[in-house]
């Protein structure tokens, strides 16, 4: 069985216009690697060169933001539904400042996720 992945308009150039594609993988990272074999270039739009999820792309497994499920390590099961949405963000801010904030927020989210993982033990 496969995992259904909903692709936003801006990334449908990688899927031949398809709104929904299917893939397999035990984790989100594996799923994106699998998708990239058929939709070359898609993964690079979602994952940075450093191997982390792009800050301004939202990825959800079912109803959860993957940032709170371990990001690329988020576990997937057959029948899960993954949704990709480009973050809607902007503002009068300079780009460098926005990038600095985003890194800070990513770090904060990572700390929160780690705390949640520890609490769950």
């Amino acid at each position: 069985m496969a995992i259904e992945v909903r692709i936003p308009t801006i990334l449908r150039s990688y899927t031949g216009g398809a709104k929904v594609v299917e893939g397999t993988g035990d984790t989100l990272g594996d799923l994106l690697t699998d998708l990239d074999t058929r939709h070359a270039g898609l993964k690079a739009r979602l994952v940075t060169d450093a191997g982390a999820l792009h800050r301004f792309v939202n990825v959800y497994v079912n109803d959860e933001d993957v940032r709170f499920l371990g990001a690329l390590d988020a576990k997937l099961n057959d029948g899960d539904s993954v949704t990709v949405l480009p973050a809607v963000a902007g503002g009068a801010f300079g780009f460098a400042a926005a990038a600095a904030i985003s890194q800070h927020r990513a770090a904060t989210a990572a700390v929160a996720a780690r705390r949640a993982a520890v609490a769950a033990r």
Binding site: I10, D65, V88, G91
Partner: protein
Amino acid sequence: MLSIDRSIVDAIVAHARRDHPDEACGVVAGPVGSDTPTRHIPMDNAARSMTFYEFDSMEHLRVWREMDDRDEEPVVIYHSHTATEAYPSRTDVAFAGEPGAHYLLVSTREPDTEEIRSFRIVDGVVTEEPVRIVDAGVDPHAVQSYMFGQSPATVDYECSGS
């Protein structure tokens, strides 16, 4: 060109004024392919900042799913600039992720007047477009008008049978 109903523009401006000096943001949904914004959805600015806005990720998912279920799409994505002009910043351009949307900017830097401008942002290229504010009363696309429970402005005496 963006054609948008005056009542929706008024609601967007009210939202921007309410959140000033923080930036306000939101969506106006409309039927897929119609290019007509009909349903105003004010969104939380998760950044709560005077110079930055970002949709809350869970609200974003909920609203986008709801639009999907209703065969709608984000026709307008709006936000306010509270100290600068209503023109997309480099940040706005870098993050613009809905190539089909009209990006509406409202500047609230002047206390008494608002600057309202609309842009297409596709592949990093900004193109300004005219904004046509449509008064519902003179909507050229309207083929009929209805009145519900109010005193009629005109009365059709032809129906009285006399």
